[in-house]
């Protein structure tokens, strides 16, 4: 068993921890987050409230836990959209390189790249109102060209290899070859990119929630917690520091995981016989 890179282990542990917290929060949190209890507002950490309470009396720890749920759900589904639509497009473009289809897909990609997630979010929420779903769509749509580009970029050099010609001599069509031969060999690239986009999704969700375009009250979200804490940052800094720290640690963990995976999966680092 090869020794795994340190970054991979640390990153995996952190990511798994957050995932676990989010899953637990689906069924249990120390305190409910929907009620408002003004008498308990702004309490310092204590036995009852491990991290204290916020300006509406809600338990910070519980808020952070459900915030994890929100962030992970949004980022995860957004990655799913990106992979589900982007990878087939990228594979199709590579399989038909130089054709009109390829040109159209590449142009389409460039077009979406001109619309940052924030702008897409603005366009959607302007008519449909802010919500977690709209945040998912905004982030997810931007993920599509990212994955399409990575898939196409990884697939193109493979199409020139002889084993693809051998598969064609064996009578296989382009679509089948894309699935049987190309896809498994770009899997590494896609996995690494998925962790990167996941961490970017967490940051994007936080930013959208911060400006009010993400998950709406009463659903807690780290970004909105920061927005609400902003006015009290001089008197109660912890309200602003804790959610921010949560974001930093989670994203850090995911990035380490991504880096570690990239190193572990790099074929150049694997030993091969002449």
């Amino acid at each position: 068993m090869r020794r795994l890179p340190k970054a991979l282990v640390i990153g995996a542990v952190i990511s798994a921890a957050f995932l676990a917290i989010a899953l637990v929060s689906l069924v249990w949190t120390p305190h409910p987050v929907t009620g408002v209890s003004i008498s308990e507002r702004l309490q310092p950490p204590s036995a009852a409230y491990v991290l204290g309470t916020d300006q509406l009396g809600r338990d910070l720890a519980s808020m952070l836990m459900i915030g994890a749920q929100t962030s992970i759900a949004v980022a995860l589904i957004a990655v799913g959209i990106g992979i589900g639509l982007g990878v087939p497009l990228g594979l199709a473009a590579a399989a038909n390189r130089g054709s009109l289809l390829d040109e159209i897909i590449m142009r389409g990609n460039d077009l979406i790249f001109a619309f940052p997630s924030l702008v897409i979010a603005i366009l959607i929420t302007a008519r449909y109102g802010p919500s977690a779903t709209n945040a998912i769509l905004a982030i997810g749509i931007f993920n599509i060209p990212v994955f399409a580009r990575v898939a196409r970029g990884g697939a193109l050099p493979l199409w020139t290899l002889d084993y693809i010609l051998a598969a064609r001599t064996a009578g296989k069509g382009r679509a089948r070859i894309s699935v049987e031969h190309i896809l498994p060999n770009i899997m590494n690239l896609l996995i690494v990119q998925a962790t990167i986009q996941f961490s970017l999704g967490i940051l994007a969700e936080a930013a959208l929630s911060y400006v009010g375009l993400g998950a709406q009250p009463p659903t807690p979200s780290w970004g909105r917690m920061l927005a609400e804490a902003q006015t009290m940052i001089y008197t109660h800094p912890m309200l602003a520091i804790l959610p921010g720290l949560a974001i930093v640690v989670m994203v850090l963990g995911l990035n380490l995981l991504g880096d570690g995976l990239r190193d572990a999966l790099d074929p150049r680092l694997r030993r091969r016989l002449a």
Binding site: L123, G223, A227, Q230, I233, G244
Partner: protein, 313 residues
């Protein structure tokens, strides 16, 4: 080269047209009647009709689209429904905050990232390299608006070196730039981290190429080989990232205005959303997308300057 620029300009125009159609469709067409949206459920038929006339919603979709485009090309961005003032005026005031902020941040980010990335690549595996990799890992993970809050806490409140927010206007350029500095730093940090990593990996990739070996065989020292051969080639992937970064920086600038109470495009847009002022939202969005597409075009030109292989076509 000229032909390359012409083709890129054509591509740019095409992208702008398609983008404008998308924006128009998403705001005015697909979700239904703009007027009833803006006035809400309780609007009477008369007020709806009045609004429709005012907004020019009487014409067919095609007519309205061309009216909108034509207006923008002549500088008429429509009239804001909530402020009753031409959108162009509103935008002009505010864009002189958002755009300089984005450019300031881009400049800072590049100035920091290049030397850091180059040093890390030159020092590969060494203490400096690990330090840079660790530092940038952290930098990437920090949300820029949160970092901004911390900066305010430290530099404005505690140390009192900067004001905590606000923008004094461009009459006093020094003061204006000073008020944009903390926001620019907050924006620049995560982007500089990304850019430094890209610079480093692009350089390392280039250093493994055959022409570096040829250069060394001619008698160049390691350092000379890096500076004269590797750097220019490494620029190509770096340029791509810089182009993408601008769009993120512009979006980030809009978000970060919230922390510093800057009178930029951010407040305009978000208020426009809350107040259902579709005229403002439509035109400002188009402007943002326009800025991004133009920057992409400039990056394409820069590519051709750096990489002669692109100039043929």
């Amino acid at each position: 080269m000229l032909r390359y620029i012409a083709i890129r300009a054509l591509s740019l125009s095409l992208s702008l047209v398609v983008a404008s159609v998308v924006i128009f469709a998403l705001i005015e067409v697909i979700p239904g009647d703009p007027a009833s949206f803006m006035l809400g459920l309780n609007a009477t038929d008369e007020t709806l009709a009045a609004l429709r006339t005012e907004l020019g919603l009487d014409g067919s979709k095609l007519e309205r689209y061309f009216a909108w485009i034509g207006g923008m090309l002549t500088g008429d961005f429509g009239t804001s429904y909530t402020y009753r003032v031409p959108v162009a005026e509103l935008v002009l005031d505010r864009i002189w905050v958002s755009l300089p902020l984005a450019i300031y941040a881009l400049t800072l980010s590049t100035l920091i990232a290049f030397p850091v990335g180059i040093l890390a690549a030159a020092n590969r595996g060494g203490a400096l390299d690990y330090g840079v990799m660790g530092g940038t890992q952290l930098g990437i993970a920090i949300p820029n608006f949160w970092f901004a809050m911390l900066l305010v806490l430290l530099f404005a409140v505690t140390l009192q070196w900067f004001s905590a927010g606000g923008f004094p206007g461009w009459e006093n350029p020094g003061a204006a730039i000073k008020s944009l500095t903390l926001p620019a730093i907050a924006l620049a940090l995560p982007q500089a981290s990304i850019l430094a990593r890209v610079m480093r990996s692009a350089l390392l990739e280039t250093l493994g190429q055959d022409y570096i070996r040829t250069a060394r065989a001619k008698g160049l020292t390691r350092r000379q080989a890096v500076l004269r051969h590797a750097l220019k080639n490494a620029l190509i992937p770096v340029l791509t990232i810089i182009g993408l970064q601008f769009s993120f920086l512009l979006a980030g600038a809009i978000i970060i205005e919230n922390v510093f109470f800057l009178p930029g495009l951010g407040r305009l847009i978000f208020q426009g959303i809350t107040q259902r002022d579709l005229v403002v939202v439509e035109s400002v969005t188009m402007l943002l997308v326009f800025a991004v597409i133009v920057v992409t075009f400039l990056v394409d030109i820069a590519y051709a300057i750096v990489d002669p292989r692109l100039r043929r076509r």
